[in-house]
Symmetry: C2
Subunit: 238 residues, 2 copies
DNA sequence: CGCATACAATTTGTACACAATTTTTTTTTT
DNA sequence: AAAAAAAAAATTGTGTACAAATTGTATGCG
C-alpha cells in the first residue's frame, strides 16, 4: 500500500471543505495553488483536480486563467436558498423516512450526539460542522441521485449562513438553536417510525426556524431612543 | 489570442456530452484516456480535468485507479428519476415564469423551433438533443443556483431515457411526442404571461406524459393470441 | 500630473516523463 | 488440465518543466 498521495489529497479536500463551511476562508477568497501545493505536499496537478471536483460540488468557482476562489454569497443567494431549501429538504426527509437503514439511523443518532456536544461546549464552527454532518446523513438515507446534488449544494450554504448569522451572545438565538436540536430529535424519531409525512413536516418547520433566525439578525428590534436625542459615540462604540 | 487548447477542450466536452446524451456511448462504457487524448489533440492533464468536471455534473463516474466510465442507468434510477423530476421541474418552471428575460424567451422559442424541426425530419438523437436544449434554457431562466445542479442532472437522464424508450414506428409514441411539443408551446406561453401556477401545472403534465411513454414501452399491450398457439419465429423476428 | 505603453514578475495551463497500480499473459506447480 | 504464481503489458496517478496568460511596475510622453 503506497497511497500516501491519496491521503494528502483527501486531507486537502477535508481542509478546504472544513475551512469553507466554517468561513475560515471567506466567500470570494482566492486560493493560492503554490501555497496549498507546498502546505499539503501535493504537486499542482492533483491539487487542481481537487479544485475541479470541489467546483462541481459548489464549494469553489473556477475562472479560466484566473484561478480558483471560494464560491460567493450574496443576499440574492440567500433568497434563492430559502426558496429552494424547504422543498428539497422536505423531499429528502420524506425519502429518508422511507428508505433509511438501521445502520444509517445509528449514524444519525451519533451525529446528533456530536451536535448536542457542540452546542454545550463547542465553538460556532463545531456547531456548524456537526449540524452539517447530521444533514448530510439524511441525504445519504434518502439515496436519490437526482436530489442529492442540489441538497448538498444547499448544505454548503446552510453551514455558511448559520456561521454568518449566529451570535452566541443573543439569548433568542440560543433558544433558537436548542429548538433546532429538538427538531433533530423529532426528525430521528419520525425516520425510525418510517413516518414520511411527519418527517416532511418537520423539514418545513426546521427551515422556518432557520429563516426566523436570519430575519432576526438582518432586521433586529429597533433601538428605542427618545425623540430629539441623537446617537453619539457611546452607541456607535457599544 | 492563442486559446486553441481551450477550443480543443470544449470540443472534447461537447463531443462527450452529445455522445452520452444520445447513447452513442452507452451507460457504463469505459473511456480510453489515450484514445481521446490522441483524437482531440489534448494531453492527458486537461483531458482528465474535463473528466472530473463531467463527473461532477453527472455524466461520468470516476473510479480511482480504474478510469472513467459513463454513468450507469438502471430501473432503480428510473424510479428515482420519476420521483424527483416533477417536483424539481415544477419548481424550475415556476421560477422561470417569474424571472425569464425577453432574450431568454426568444432563445426558448428558437429551441422549440429546432425541436419541431427534429420531430419532422431529424433523427432520434436530434430530437433528444433539441429537447434537452429546450429544458436547459428553462433552467437558466429559473436562475436558482441551488436547484440547477439537480435539474441538470435530471436532464442528462431525461435525454438518455427518451433515447432508450422511443421507437418512431409506434403510432402511440408519435402522438405522444407531438403532445410533448404542444406542451412546450404552452410552457412558452405560460412563461411569457408570467403565469407561474400554469407553468408549474404544465411541468407536471409534461412529466406524466413522459412517464406514460415509458410505461407503454415497459408494459406494452399483451399480444392477443388464441389459447393453445405459441409465438413462433415470425414474432421474434418482427 | 494623468495616461498609455512596454517590460518584468507572477500565476495559470499544458505536455511529457516517470511512478504506482491494475490487468493480462505467461510460466510454474500440483 | 486447473490453479497458483510470476512476469509483462497496459493503464492510471503524480511531479516537473515549460508555454501562455494575467497582473503589477516602471518608463515615456503629452
Amino acid at each position: 500500500m503506497k497511497d500516501e498521495a491519496r491521503q494528502r489529497r483527501n486531507r486537502l479536500y477535508d481542509h478546504l471543505k472544513m475551512s469553507i463551511l466554517t468561513l475560515r476562508i471567506a466567500p470570494g477568497s482566492d486560493l493560492d495553488e503554490a501555497e496549498l501545493s507546498a502546505a499539503f505536499g501535493l504537486s499542482r496537478t492533483p491539487l487542481r483536480e481537487v479544485f475541479r471536483e470541489m467546483a462541481g460540488e459548489g464549494y469553489l468557482d473556477l475562472r479560466t486563467n484566473r484561478g480558483a476562489r471560494v464560491s460567493e454569497m450574496s443576499y440574492t443567494t440567500l433568497r434563492d436558498f430559502f426558496l429552494a431549501a424547504p422543498m428539497i429538504y422536505g423531499a429528502i426527509l420524506r425519502l429518508a423516512a422511507l428508505n433509511a437503514t438501521a445502520a444509517q439511523v445509528e449514524a444519525l443518532k451519533g451525529a446528533q450526539d456530536d451536535f448536542r456536544a457542540a452546542l454545550r461546549s463547542g465553538s460556532g464552527a463545531d456547531r456548524a460542522l456537526s449540524n452539517n454532518r447530521f444533514h448530510e446523513i439524511t441525504g445519504v438515507m434518502a439515496g436519490n441521485v437526482y436530489l442529492l446534488p442540489s441538497f448538498n449544494r444547499l448544505l454548503i450554504d446552510h453551514a455558511r449562513i448559520s456561521m454568518t448569522f449566529y451570535r452566541p451572545g443573543d439569548t433568542k438565538m440560543v433558544e433558537n438553536v436548542s429548538e433546532a436540536s429538538a427538531h433533530h430529535d423529532e426528525i430521528i424519531a419520525a425516520i425510525e417510525a418510517r413516518d414520511a409525512e411527519r418527517a416532511a413536516a418537520l423539514a418545513e418547520a426546521h427551515w422556518n426556524l432557520s429563516r426566523g433566525h436570519i430575519e432576526m439578525f438582518v432586521m433586529p428590534d429597533a433601538l428605542t431612543m427618545p425623540l430629539g436625542t441623537l446617537p453619539g459615540q457611546a452607541v456607535a462604540g457599544g
